[in-house]
């Protein structure tokens, strides 16, 4: 095989990987949402109810959403950022104000999830689902109580821990355990967090944000700090997986629906938001992705065992949402990258 045929071989392989781009029609709703978060049944139900076709694209981090939104122009009619990402998008005038006259079902939402700091007046965002980041323990393997970050990161659990592969999360846990604020991060607070994080990353076996439950289910680790929705699924599979909100306090996230300022089909976007807010539709989301449902009317339709899931509906615990930290994100990334590679 000569160099040129090898080149052609590689080029052919690359071309084969390029995905076909779906055709978009004018009346369609272009939805850009998290992967593993919007059930297909809900999308199909919306199309059936309204006749509007939904083009669904997914992302797996808020940063990916933001960068595609600022680069991509008016391709999306509806997006699904988390609280702190919505906050910065509002500040940067990337979101369109909502027309609440078209959202009659807003009344179904619980007041616990509206009027929060990222959008105090609820002028731009509607809560979709909420959750927390907490400790999950395989109680068959770990016999001692583990209820705080410090108790997770003990030498006896070396190589038995899974945590989210998310640098800001990890640094926030260290700050919480030091009693420092997680939303006003300074060079000084990062310096204090550094030795704590350095000790912690040495103990971790797996960093995984996409599916941290896998390592727990496979028996490769015995405890971890994961999304509450992942912990809820673990609990549904086996009651040995116990979820607790860390004693030092935990990160709560509220994922919202919002309409980009330059969306082409704002009418359909409003229709979709209003459809999602129907209790019987919202119930389907809970069934597929057992996060915390902010829809009070939908919660009345949930089964007793769904409401009893301690990961979906924790009884107690101090919860705090993230705020945008701007350029500090890259200092955090540098810190954790440094500590991970030092071991």
């Amino acid at each position: 095989m000569s160099y040129s045929t090898q080149l052609r071989f590689v080029a052919g392989a690359l071309l084969a990987l390029a995905a076909p781009v779906a055709a978009r029609a004018a009346g369609d709703l272009n939805l850009f949402g998290w992967s593993e978060y919007v059930p297909q049944t809900v999308i199909d139900g919306f199309t059936k109810a309204t006749g509007i076709k939904v083009n669904f694209e997914t992302y797996s981090s808020n940063e990916e959403l933001i960068s595609k939104l600022v680069a991509g122009g008016g391709r999306y009619d509806l997006v699904q950022p988390s609280d702190y990402a919505a906050e910065v998008m509002i500040r940067q005038k990337l979101l369109a104000p909502l027309d609440k006259t078209k959202l009659a079902n807003l009344k179904n939402l619980s007041a616990d999830f509206t009027g929060r700091p990222h959008d105090p007046a609820g002028a731009f965002t509607v809560p979709y689902m909420a959750g927390s980041v907490g400790i999950v323990v395989n109680t068959e393997k770990v016999k001692v109580p583990v209820t705080s970050y410090r108790e997770v990161f003990q030498a006896q659990f070396q190589n038995r821990i899974v945590v989210l592969n998310d640098n800001r999360e990890i640094v926030s846990w260290a700050l919480k355990s030091l009693g420092l604020p997680i939303n006003t991060i300074t060079a000084d607070s990062l310096a204090k967090a550094r030795p704590v994080v350095a000790n912690w990353v040495k103990l971790v076996k797996v960093f995984d944000s996409d599916s941290p439950k896998t390592a727990l289910l496979n028996g490769d680790v015995d405890l971890g700090i994961v999304w509450s929705g992942e912990a809820a699924i673990l609990w549904n599979q086996h009651k040995k997986f116990r979820y607790v909100i860390p004693a030092e306090g935990a990160h709560q996230f509220i994922d919202v629906l919002a309409i980009p300022a330059n969306a082409k089909n704002k009418a359909a976007a409003h229709q979709f938001i209003n459809y999602i807010l129907r209790p019987e539709v919202s119930k389907l989301i809970s069934a597929a992705f057992p996060y915390t449902n902010p829809n009070a009317e939908a919660r009345k339709l949930l089964r007793a065992d769904e409401l009893a899931n301690p990961a979906s509906y924790p009884k107690e615990g101090k919860l705090e949402t993230f705020r945008d930290i701007g350029r500090m994100a890259s200092d955090i990334d540098r810190l954790v990258t440094d500590l991970k590679s030092a071991k």
């Binding site: 990916e64 797996v206 890259s330 990258t337």
Partner: protein, 268 residues
């Protein structure tokens, strides 16, 4: 061909180059004002250490691919006409399935309660369970698995062209198999090995999915660092600077390889 090069090589590289000298705003948007800052960060010891480690992983992967791939390629290349295409097909078959799915299959094999440990423990030697998944060993297994075909195919190309008469001549002149291999076969298949090395080493160094999935993302390689700049840290210019340095490094390696081969040719 020129248009193809322009669209897929020159323009993206130029964008990368320009971005690498830019700044960013709080949203991570690229701001077009000139700075050296990104390049200063690239040569921070943190990232240099990761560079060196990535090169180590890629070199080990390439070495194992050569050792494991050469006999396979040689066997296929020397097989009868009818068999050759079938055997080559076997090398290509894994490409019919998504790379990620094949990586997940390896997780099923290597995990604590997985296939390999189940087999080990059912044997009467008292072996296992081995702690394989989420270790550097798992990363190397994943890398070798992913890139082995890219080593086999070019070596096969060289072996196929290898003139059997030369080997027979060497035998006739009294050389045993131990002598024939380094004196005849290896030099004649060297172009294939060099091409395979390039095809394996370059992508292996920048791979990030395997380190995340099979290595548990514990030890970052340079591919992970670059990916993070785009997906987590909102720092495209720094990611671009890493990419540019990376490309320069490859260009230098490639150039050195070409020089080496040119010298070989002039001597040989």
């Amino acid at each position: 061909m020129l248009l193809w090069l322009l669209a897929f090589v020159v323009v993206p590289s130029a964008i990368l180059f320009v971005y690498s000298f830019c700044e960013r705003d709080e949203l991570g948007r690229v701001v077009f004002s000139f700075t050296w800052e990104n390049y200063q960060r690239v040569f921070d010891p943190i990232y240099l250490r990761i560079f060196v480690r990535s090169i180590g992983y890629a070199a080990l992967t390439t070495a194992i691919c050569i050792v494991a791939g050469f006999p396979v390629a040689y066997f296929i290349g020397r097989a009868g006409e009818a068999w050759r295409n079938r055997l080559l097909l076997l090398v290509m078959v894994p490409f019919w399935t998504s790379f990620l799915i094949r990586t997940y299959a390896w997780i099923t094999i290597l995990k604590q309660e997985g296939l390999l440990n189940a087999v080990l423990q059912s044997l009467p030697f008292g072996l296992g369970p081995w702690d394989l998944l989420y270790t550097p060993t798992a990363v190397v297994i994943g890398l070798v698995y992913a890139y082995l075909p890219f080593m086999i195919l070019p070596i096969y190309g060289s072996v196929e062209k290898l003139d059997g008469a030369l080997i027979e001549a060497a035998h006739d002149l009294g050389a045993g198999p131990l002598r024939v291999f380094p004196a005849v076969i290896l030099p004649l298949t060297l172009p294939g090995i060099a091409a395979g090395t390039l095809l394996v080493f370059v992508p292996a160094i920048a791979m990030f999915a395997i380190t995340d999935l099979m290595g548990g993302a514990r030890v970052p390689l340079i591919g992970n660092v670059i990916q993070n700049q785009f997906l987590q840290a909102r720092d495209w210019p720094f990611g671009a600077a890493l990419g540019v340095v990376f490309m320069a490094l490859f260009a230098a390696t490639y150039w050195a390889l070409l020089r080496f081969r040119a010298r070989e040719d002039s001597i040989g």
